[in-house]
């Protein structure tokens, strides 16, 4: 059974049917108890509707956008790179190599015969002998060893992690079973 207040709130909200709406309107007009209660609730309704919204701090939007930006930035590079860029770089290298090759082929004097036969063009190459001397070669090999160890370490770590993941998954499955 609806109380007077409940009926009146429904009337104020317009959430009752047309028949009830008419009946309550009549009651408000004729019954003083209903009229007084209606006026009281109407005033309360107006006060509720005028409740102010709270204001968040000034930097609220900025903080949210910064978090979103940071999230974007921390995404793996693989996911962020556009495939078109990779294709573009590939195309650039292919184009450059082709141009150099075409230029090299075009500049060859095919009619000159075998090079060196007439004591002609001898390619002038830089002298690399001193670059391949002991300390430089050793340094290069040392760097190679360090890089190799670094890669091996990474590979073993990944392998170890995947093994533990698998064992966690299988133990989880066993538990659920």
């Amino acid at each position: 059974m609806n109380t007077i207040e409940e009926k009146l709130w429904n009337y104020i909200d317009g959430s009752c049917n047309a028949e009830d709406q008419q009946a309550i309107a009549l009651l408000i007009e004729q019954d003083e108890v209903y009229r007084n209660k209606y006026n009281e609730l109407l005033q309360l309704n107006a006060e509720f509707a005028a409740i102010d919204l709270d204001e968040p701090p000034m930097a609220f939007t900025y903080n949210v956008m910064e978090t979103i930006r940071a999230e974007h930035a921390s995404k793996p590079l693989k996911a962020a790179i556009d495939k078109r860029i990779i294709r573009g770089i590939g195309f650039f290298f292919v184009f450059t190599i082709s141009v150099i090759l075409i230029y090299a082929l075009a500049s060859i004097h095919w009619s000159a015969g075998v090079a060196g036969a007439h004591g002609a063009d001898k390619s002038v190459l830089p002298d690399l002998k001193h670059l391949l001397s002991g300390p430089i070669m050793n340094g290069f090999l040392f760097l190679d060893v360090v890089l190799g160890l670094y890669l091996l370490d990474g590979y073993l770590r990944k392998k170890g992690l995947s093994k533990t993941d698998e064992s966690v998954q299988t133990s989880g499955q066993q538990k659920t079973q």
């Binding site: 959430s15 309360l44 006060e47 919204l53 709270d54 968040p56 609220f60 939007t61 978090t67 979103i68």
Partner: protein, 193 residues
């Protein structure tokens, strides 16, 4: 300045990669989301954290917004779920979620307001005070209905309940709010005497 675009237009721009469109969307709804979060949180700092979390969650799942309901209804349901989860997390090891006495949070929420200056206290101050004393569900229904201009059906969608249940809950929430308002005003009069 508020953006001239509708919510849906701003969402489309955001999905096309325009992040400033999402910033406009936040600016448009931040006050309501923050207020709604404040109905659950004990402090403004907690409410800010919840509100921020909601906008980040909404951004992440903007793709899944079906556009069958209003954006605000979808956003408010995120706020409601996030705030409820935060509330449970905070209170799980201390006290019951139904204990009204733990909702005396007025001092924190009314930061900056001179409580001793009786002259400054308007009826709206007491109303805010009474809302802060309500249970989160009651305060949420009142806020969604009056400030969010949501229909009973939309409130039902937001809170995951039937519209008829919303109607009953709204009636009870109004009654409790009225009682608390009257009690607070009486207390204030007694203190003055």
């Amino acid at each position: 300045m508020q953006s001239k675009f509708s919510d849906i237009e701003l969402i489309e721009q955001t999905l096309a990669g325009n992040q400033s469109a999402y910033a406009d969307l936040i600016k448009r709804h931040q006050r309501f989301v923050f207020t709604l979060a404040l109905r659950f949180a004990k402090t403004r700092e907690d409410a800010e954290e919840i509100a921020q979390d909601c906008f980040i969650k909404a951004y992440r799942s903007l793709n899944s917004f079906q556009r069958q309901s209003k954006f605000t209804t979808w956003l408010y349901s995120i706020v409601y779920t996030t705030a409820m989860t935060a509330l449970r997390k905070k209170r799980v090891d201390t006290d019951s979620i139904d204990d009204e006495n733990t909702y005396i949070q007025i001092e924190n929420q009314m930061g900056g307001y001179d409580v001793n200056n009786v002259e400054n206290k308007s009826r709206s101050y007491y109303l805010n005070q009474a809302i802060a004393q309500l249970l989160p569900d009651d305060a949420t229904i009142i806020t969604l209905f009056y400030n969010g201009e949501q229909s009973l059906e939309e409130i039902g969608q937001t809170m995951g309940i039937e519209p008829n249940t919303v109607k009953v809950k709204l009636f009870r929430a109004r009654q409790r709010l009225k009682e608390k308002l009257e009690r607070n005003l009486k207390q204030e009069v007694n203190e003055l005497i």
